[in-house]
């Protein structure tokens, strides 16, 4: 019993230390963003734009597919069970609340973590193992500004933008399912009243959470990438840990948000 408690305490302290490390990395990166560096700006923005294209633009087809199919399946099942006008309204409310506010940012964060979080950990891990991070420092280049800041910007911006794409796909998928189920006529205008069921607060919360998830994913992915020391066999272990931790932290944050807003 005594040993079990000690182990639990140790595990808890390790987790706290890790969260503090992620927070420190985030603070250092935000600090680098706020500190004026006129010269490096162009180089940093080029890197950030590349990250946005990779994390955001290239993930659009996957996000559209997941959003439309997920919402279509959910709506088809819901319309099968509920067929009255009142019940249809309830389905739309659930779609708006659950999918837009909760599922959209979390699903987008999962996709971003699987695609870009893993890629960032592998890339930075390889760079650390090959001595490239130290190499750029020897040229007076700040790795936080040149390596981390663009990845933080890219992940946050792309996660917010992809969440909007996910929401649009959810509505398109749900609309097609509603038409198929005979709950709506096959005109886009018929869906407009239902679109207005989504409150501005729902959108604000979804985008706010998405931005936060993007920053958390970038922080965890970068931390594990930069923690690789010389041994390339460490990279797959770090990637696995980074992905698990991103999913845990984002889910925990989503739960906290949901409890606060309920």
């Amino acid at each position: 019993m005594h040993d079990a408690l000690r182990r639990l305490g140790r595990a808890f302290l390790t987790e706290i230390r890790r969260v503090v490390s992620y927070a420190t990395l985030t603070v250092l990166t935000v600090g680098a963003a706020l500190r004026p560096a006129r010269h490096a700006r162009a180089v940093v923005w080029t890197q950030a734009a590349r990250q946005i294209v990779f994390t955001g633009l290239e993930a659009i087809p996957l996000i559209v597919f997941l959003g439309a199919v997920g919402a279509g399946v959910f709506a088809t099942i819901a319309f099968t069970f509920f067929s009255g006008a009142e019940e249809n309204k309830m389905v739309v409310d659930i779609l708006a609340r659950l999918l837009v506010r909760e599922v959209a940012p979390l699903s987008t964060a999962v996709v971003v973590a699987l695609r870009s979080g893993a890629a960032i950990t592998v890339e930075l891990g390889s760079m650390s193992a090959r001595g490239e991070v130290e190499g750029i420092e020897t040229a007076g280049i700040d790795p936080i500004r040149w390596l981390l800041l663009p990845r933080f910007i890219g992940m946050a911006v792309a996660t917010v933008a992809l969440t909007l794409v996910f929401v649009a796909s959810v509505f398109a998928g749900a609309f097609v399912a509603a038409v198929q189920a005979g709950a709506l006529p096959p005109q886009w205008s018929a869906a407009l009243p239902y679109l207005f069921a989504v409150q501005p607060l729902d959108i604000v919360l979804a985008l706010g959470k998405a931005g936060l998830f993007g920053v958390v994913s970038a922080s965890v992915a970068c931390y594990h990438g930069l923690s690789v020391r010389g041994d390339v066999t460490e990279i797959p272990r770090r990637v696995a840990r980074a992905l698990v931790e991103i999913l845990i932290h984002c889910s925990a944050l989503a739960a906290v948000f949901a409890l606060l807003v309920l």
Binding site: A40, S126, E132, G135, I136, T138, A139, G140, I141
Partner: protein
């Protein structure tokens, strides 16, 4: 002569190597080689001068900055004035050599056109045009080392630090490195190199310091 690099009673430990109580001084514009049988310990000395190793005891002062006590920002500022060549070169593997060199200049505010011109000039001078547009990961270690030297001197440093400059170099690469050292000397750059190949470093420097087995231990 005012010292550009001042090391007093340095104690530092790395992977499989340590330095115990090393002291030396390098004047402004002076060229010094530290030699000894154990290269990892010699590298440790150069890495400590650039602030890449945690100093356990003693003091390292480079260009008036106490490296052993400097924070991250002070070190970055100092490295802007240091030319540093690691054993493997530390170039970005997925970038071409030309991009690697231009990045250093562009990050420090040189306009694109000027950076391209300066890089083309040093590459042509070293006779390395044929490999300039190849990614670092596709080139042999010798060429990577030569380009790492070019990157180090491109920023016109006041101090040049090199860990094991002879590593990976064949006669052609050695000629390029020797020429770059001569150019740096002509500009009055302070040089500190650490190498276990005394024959190679002898013509590059004014003074050779040998680390005793007691100072450099594995």
């Amino acid at each position: 002569m005012t010292p550009s690099i001042e090391i007093r009673d340095l104690w530092v430990e790395g992977v499989g190597a340590k330095l115990q109580g090393v002291s030396l001084s390098v004047g402004v514009g002076e060229r010094v080689a530290v030699v000894g049988p154990h290269q990892p310990s010699l590298s440790l000395l150069i890495r400590a001068c650039a602030g890449f190793e945690r100093v356990q005891r003693g003091q390292v002062v480079v260009c008036g900055v106490e490296v052993s006590a400097a924070d991250r920002r002070a070190l970055l500022q100092l490295r802007r004035h240091l030319g540093y060549v690691s054993i493997s070169g530390g170039l970005l593997a997925n970038m071409t050599m030309r991009d690697n060199l231009e990045l250093a200049l562009r990050y420090h505010g040189t306009p694109q056109a000027d950076a391209s011109r300066a890089v083309q000039s040093v590459i042509a001078d070293a006779g390395l045009e044929a490999s300039a547009d190849v990614r670092a990961c596709l080139l042999p270690a010798e060429l990577c080392k030569c380009f790492a030297y070019l990157r180090a001197v491109l920023l016109e440093p006041t101090v040049l630090l090199a860990e094991d400059p002879s590593a990976y170099l064949h006669p052609e690469g050695r000629n390029i490195v020797t020429k770059l050292h001569a150019q740096a000397h002509a500009r009055g750059v302070t040089v500190l190199v650490a190498d276990d190949d005394i024959e190679f470093v002898e013509p590059l420097v004014d003074r050779i310091i040998e680390l005793t087995a007691l100072e450099a231990a594995s």
